[in-house]
């Protein structure tokens, strides 16, 4: 077991820069996810860790050892591929035994280890089957068993669940996490599925435009996104670009009270934490905005009257679009029990929110 240290790694393909100056530390025993939209460079980073690609610049260390330039077969990593990549000519047993046979382990030891791995993924009864006789979920588990059989220092998962249907994916997520906890292997999951990353990982690294945008726990990246890219990519968000109308220091906890306009001609008083001097980009999550259908009695400092322009009922929650007086529009997510009767488009309402739920984002281009 060992951590991964990615030290200032860049990778170019001709003129195209797939990854730029990535600095990342994956801790020992950690479940780490690399999350990003397609084309963000996450697969390139995985291939660099695996050794299928070499970095143009920088170093990669695994377990304190510099592996830059080392071929994949010398790195001792377990990799689970998106389409499983099971050997079609070998049985389940032989697939799992593959790495052990390459390592010339004694037959008895191979048998013991393969049986142990198949028990871990609950496929002991399938040892003699061939990959094409298995379901997608079973193939996935064989691929995990095969990767873990060689006792890898690091387990790399390349979009391992994207070929499974939604229900099976949920089940496999739980299983993946259980297996990871039980073996304690340092795991790097590459995914474009934010929910998967949020629910499985200890920490997440968000990649966008070839750069590491933010590294943090699921809570941190969701609640305190480092920039517009992360805020926009993870979850739903109201991004508010405003002009700072006036700034007054209240002196209380060094909070700055900022007058800004949420839409032309609609000034809003907001108390924001952090220093947002001069910056005019804010975000607030739709589920952080509270809604009252009767105006004027909320008593909150931050409030705005509006008109509901769209109602989307999703069972457990209701998604609303609220047109503020003027041009601005906010998305609001409210839980179902809040409304005895569903509001309809055209209804008047009042929105209010806590000051700490409004997050200042650094200006664009940083």
């Amino acid at each position: 077991m060992s951590g991964i240290h990615i030290d200032d790694v860049s990778r170019q393909f001709g003129d195209f820069t797939a990854l730029e100056e990535v600095q990342l530390q994956v801790r020992e025993g950690e479940f780490f996810s690399l999350l990003g939209p397609s084309g963000c460079g996450k697969t390139t980073l995985l291939n660099l860790i695996a050794g299928f690609l070499d970095p143009t610049r920088g170093r990669i260390m695994i377990g304190g050892k510099d592996v830059t330039g080392l071929p994949p077969y010398r790195r001792g990593l377990g990799i689970v591929f998106q389409d499983y990549a099971l050997f079609p000519h070998l049985s389940v047993f032989d697939n799992v035994a593959y790495g052990l046979r390459i390592r010339k382990q004694p037959k008895k030891e191979i048998k013991r280890r393969v049986e142990e791995m198949l028990a871990l993924v609950q496929l002991s009864s399938m040892a003699d089957r061939r990959p094409h006789q298995l379901s997608g979920g079973q193939r996935q588990r064989v691929a995990i068993a095969r990767a873990l059989a060689i006792e890898p220092s690091v387990l790399l998962l390349d979009e391992p669940l994207s070929n499974l249907d939604a229900k099976l994916r949920k089940a496999m997520q739980t299983e993946l996490r259980t297996i990871q906890r039980r073996t304690g292997v340092t795991t790097v999951l590459v995914t474009h599925d934010q929910e998967e990353a949020l629910s499985l990982s200890d920490r997440i690294g968000i990649l966008g435009h070839g750069r590491l945008q933010q590294v943090g726990t699921p809570l941190e990246v969701y609640r305190r996104p480092a920039n517009r890219f992360v805020a926009d990519f993870i979850g739903q968000v109201n991004l508010i670009q405003t002009a700072v109308a006036a700034e007054r220091s209240t002196g209380r906890n060094r909070h700055a009270a900022i007058d800004y306009e949420i839409a032309a001609g609609v000034p809003l008083l907001l108390e924001t934490t952090g220093s947002a001097e001069g910056s005019g980009l804010y975000m607030i999550r739709p589920e952080r905005i509270k809604i009252a259908l009767t105006a004027g009695n909320s008593g909150e400092a931050n409030r705005a009257p509006g008109v509901i322009s769209h109602v989307g009922y999703a069972g457990d929650q209701v998604r609303l679009h609220v047109q503020l007086a003027g041009k601005g529009e906010l998305q609001v997510v409210a839980s179902d029990p809040l409304f005895p009767v569903l509001p309809s488009a055209g209804d008047r309402c009042e929105l209010y929110w806590d000051a700490e739920d409004v997050i200042a984002l650094p200006p664009e281009g940083v």
């Binding site: 050794g51 377990g78 990799i79 990549a85 000519h89 060689i150």
Partner: protein, 304 residues
């Protein structure tokens, strides 16, 4: 309701008629080719089988009686048994060498990234097939003759004192065969190699296998269907070719096609030539049948 079902019935009938009409149209389109095959392949083939059981008199006139005499002569004469053995041996040796030589070429075809370069390699591989086998084989005479290119070069380099005798031997036959038949093995092997998911090689490498072990444990088993169909083609061509061994090996080499030619054109013993032909055909059929049986077994292992 009644109306509806009747109308449905009408449609079914109409569709059947259409199907029947298209089918008969296909047969019509096929009939020239089928007639051609019947007249120039099936009929002569049956005649050949019948002829092989005929006897001849001392003047080599074909007699109306039937016997197994031709076949007993082939399978009891030491010289014909040697011929059979060396025919199969040369074909097998050629097949093995061609397969070994075909793998690097197939690998190059499949792994070349640039599309233009790959097209160039394909053209390079196929272009010999555009010229006649006589010309291709004749080129080997130019290279391997006593005063040929190879001997001249070796003499100039003072590697040898006197010219090597390369032509008119089985060695020369095998060398020429390998060159002539290489494309027939490269193409099917390249095809099955191209169908292997690149991820499989990556998976093998991630599990600790280097390139060579990955080849033998993943690439080779998965290209076996291509290898076997290439082997079947090369083996049957090598066992049945006549021009190549005649030109570079000489007419006295113990090879069945040369013996058949001798019996049919020089000795003019048609029934015996027919019996030799049938012997060659059956032997090749057995080998090719065996190869395709192995291939089917292997495919079943992969997919059923």
């Amino acid at each position: 309701m009644l109306l509806l079902s009747r109308r449905k019935g009408c449609r079914v009938v109409a569709r059947n008629t259409v199907v029947r009409r298209t089918l008969s149209f296909y047969w019509l389109m096929l009939s020239p080719a089928l007639l051609f095959l019947l007249a120039f392949l099936v009929v002569p083939f049956i005649m050949l089988i019948v002829l092989s059981f005929r006897e001849v008199d001392s003047l080599l006139n074909v007699l109306p009686s039937y016997s197994l005499k031709n076949y007993t002569e082939i399978f009891t004469s030491a010289s014909y048994l040697t011929t059979i053995r060396s025919t199969l041996g040369v074909a097998a040796l050629t097949t093995v060498i061609v397969i070994i030589a075909a793998y690097p070429a197939a690998y190059l075809l499949v792994r070349t990234g640039s599309k233009g370069l790959r097209t160039f390699f394909y053209i390079l591989l196929i272009s010999p097939l555009l010229t006649s086998v006589v010309i291709r084989t004749f080129a080997w005479i130019v290279i391997m003759a006593q005063n040929g290119l190879l001997n001249e070069a070796l003499l100039k380099l003072h590697l040898i004192d006197k010219p090597l005798s390369l032509l008119w031997s089985m060695k020369a036959v095998v060398i020429a065969y390998v060159q002539v038949m290489l494309p027939f093995a490269v193409l099917p092997i390249a095809t099955s190699m191209g169908e292997i998911q690149p991820k499989l090689r990556q998976a093998s490498m991630s599990l600790g296998a280097g390139r060579i072990r990955t080849f033998f444990k993943v690439t080779f088993p998965l290209t076996l269907p291509g290898l076997l169909s290439g082997a079947a083609i090369v083996f049957s061509l090598a066992a049945g070719s006549y021009i190549t061994p005649l030109l570079v090996g000489g007419r006295l080499q113990p090879l069945l096609p040369l013996s058949i030619y001798q019996q049919a054109v020089q000795v003019f013993n048609m029934p015996f030539a027919a019996a030799l032909s049938m012997t060659l055909l059956v032997l090749v059929a057995i080998v090719v049948g065996l190869i395709s049986w192995i291939s089917k077994r292997w495919e079943a292992r992969l997919h059923d």
